[in-house]
């Protein structure tokens, strides 16, 4: 067994453990942190197949940004897990049915032979091969339209999300920094000549 294979099994075990803990742990903050561990370990798995750009981007986007905001919300909400466990038996048949459908779909897709390992041989590259550069040169030439369309769709989503949270309310007080800076001494300070009190 090669060293890489050994690493793969170590990371795979950690990944499965973390993924199971995400849904079994009682505390929602712990669950979010296990999800962070799961993302991190899957990034490590990607590194093993020499996809360093995807792996680092995974850490950067999911661990560095998405999960920080996720934790932000989960911590603020102070969720109590016990009421959500109620009705577990009641919803079990529906859940089991959906799970069965997903399992059948997965078996059909994975078992079709299209994703078998002899279709996707791992191509090893010399150490000076830059994954990032190759990806960029393909994304911005061959796939430039799909890429641009995807980014425009994301932009629309961003604008929509922001405009949904914008609510004009009456009587909201806020500072206008440029106005604050433009204030001069004459606007604020008034010198008053007060006549001294006379001795009696």
């Amino acid at each position: 067994m090669g060293f890489e294979k050994f690493l793969f099994y170590v990371f795979a075990l950690i990944l499965i453990f973390a993924a199971v803990r995400v849904i079994t742990v009682r505390n929602s903050v712990h669950a979010a942190l296990f999800l962070v561990l799961a993302f991190f370990t899957s990034a490590a798995l990607w590194l093993l197949i020499e996809a360093e750009f995807l792996a680092i981007t995974m850490v950067l986007v999911y661990v560095g940004a998405v999960m920080v905001l996720f934790l932000f919300v989960v911590m603020m909400l102070d969720l109590n897990i016990s009421p959500t466990r109620e009705g577990f038996i009641k919803y079990l048949p529906v859940g089991a049915a959906i799970a069965a459908v997903i399992v059948i779909e997965m078996v059909l897709v994975v078992g079709s032979g299209y994703f078998s390992s002899d279709q996707y041989q791992l191509i090893s590259h010399p150490s000076d091969y830059s994954n990032t550069k190759e990806l960029g040169s393909v994304l911005y030439t061959f796939y430039v339209y799909p890429f641009e369309i995807a980014s425009v769709i994301l932009l629309v989503a961003i604008i929509a999300a922001i405009s949904l949270t914008l609510r004009r309310r009456e009587g909201v007080k806020s500072q206008n920094p440029s106005q604050q800076i433009r204030v001069s001494r004459n606007d604020r300070v008034r010198l008053v000549n007060v006549t001294a009190e006379k001795k009696q």
């Binding site: 903050v29 942190l33 850490v59 932000f72």
Partner: protein, 340 residues
């Protein structure tokens, strides 16, 4: 057997980087107290050892022998994990910093991306500490820090995009080599706005004054580490100072020519100083930038929280976006002497 040997060599290299780094962290705290002392017309610590030079060691001894108090309702595991999570990325990032041509622990091709990913991990230490302490002041500090770091990371990332466009590579060794020539070839000149944005965002990301709202001792006691004591507190402290050195090292590598001599290309001085090894120049540049960190702390009052957000989103991000266009045009037009 061969793998074992490689691992041992790598471990030795890690020790060779970390031992000087941790010494530098210890003496940075001393330098901070001395520099700020003189700026405020005081003398600073001068009792322990000759001229106070053993002060950091005395501080470390004191912190080590103090009791670590864990609050009653705290999440014990996460409470103790948080300082480690804060400290780890600050050390791991040193793997891709070149100390000389090829003097680098891991010549990673996606070096700049790796740095971005790691610096974004540092926030977890703060968030976990704030939540695990089960205290409202700590939690407020953690929330402030999370919002601040997520905002400034965008500007920081865009600044790094400018560097990678100018250098044409994500490998930090290549980035320094692309700045060869003279002090005017370094990227601080063509990327001046990005340099300023990067350094100020770096100050914000390390939670240093004037952006230290996560600590904000006048409003929320000490922010996220209010409940920490002893060594657990010391590790947070170490992480902050290690991060300061890291940001300075990255700014010197990407904008100030890294290990390159500032006298390069000058007729008489260039050959005269060519005997100085590269790492010495890097250390001088790092120290120069670190002085700014201390200077900021002695000079500026703390930013108000909404002003920090405004600066990050409405000033820095537009500045970097505009300058990326300028750099792009420069690269396209092969404007010399930087982009040809």
């Amino acid at each position: 057997m061969e793998i074992l040997l490689t691992i041992i060599i790598i471990l030795l290299k890690i020790v060779a980087i970390l031992a000087p780094l941790l010494t530098a962290v210890a003496y940075l705290t001393f330098a901070e107290r001395k520099v700020i002392g003189y700026m405020q017309i005081r003398i600073g610590p001068n009792r322990v050892g000759p001229k106070g030079w053993l002060q950091p060691i005395a501080d470390a001894m004191k912190l080590m022998f103090k009791e670590i108090i864990i609050p009653t309702k705290a999440d014990r595991f996460l409470f103790l994990l948080a300082p480690v999570v804060a400290f780890g990325p600050a050390l791991a990032a040193w793997a891709v910093i070149p100390f000389g041509n090829g003097m680098i622990l891991s010549s990673l091709d996606a070096g700049i991306l790796y740095l971005l990913a790691l610096t974004s991990m540092g926030v977890y230490g703060v968030i976990i500490a704030g939540w695990a302490s089960n205290s409202k002041y700590a939690f407020l500090g953690a929330m402030r820090s999370a919002a601040q770091i997520v905002s400034y990371e965008i500007a920081m990332g865009f600044a790094l995009v400018g560097v990678l466009m100018a250098a044409g590579s994500l490998n930090l060794n290549q980035v320094v080599l692309a700045q060869q020539g003279s002090i005017l070839h370094w990227f601080w000149l063509p990327l001046l706005p990005l340099f300023l944005v990067y350094f100020i965002s770096g100050v914000a990301e390390t939670n240093r004054a004037p952006f230290d709202v996560a600590e904000g001792e006048s409003e929320i006691v000490a922010g996220f580490h209010v409940d920490y004591s002893g060594m657990a507190f010391a590790v947070f402290f170490l992480a902050e100072y290690a991060n300061m050195i890291l940001v300075s090292a990255l700014a010197s590598t990407m904008f100030l020519g890294g290990w390159l001599s500032p006298f390069e290309g000058i007729p008489l001085l260039g050959p005269l100083f060519s005997f100085v090894p590269g790492p010495i120049w890097l250390v001088i540049k790092i120290s120069f930038l670190l002085l700014f960190f201390l200077w900021f702390r002695a000079t500026f009052p703390r930013y108000r929280y909404d002003q920090i957000m405004r600066l990050g989103w409405k000033v820095f991000i537009p500045v970097t976006l505009v300058w990326l266009l300028v750099v792009g045009l420069g690269v396209l037009g092969q404007v010399g002497p930087w982009f040809d």
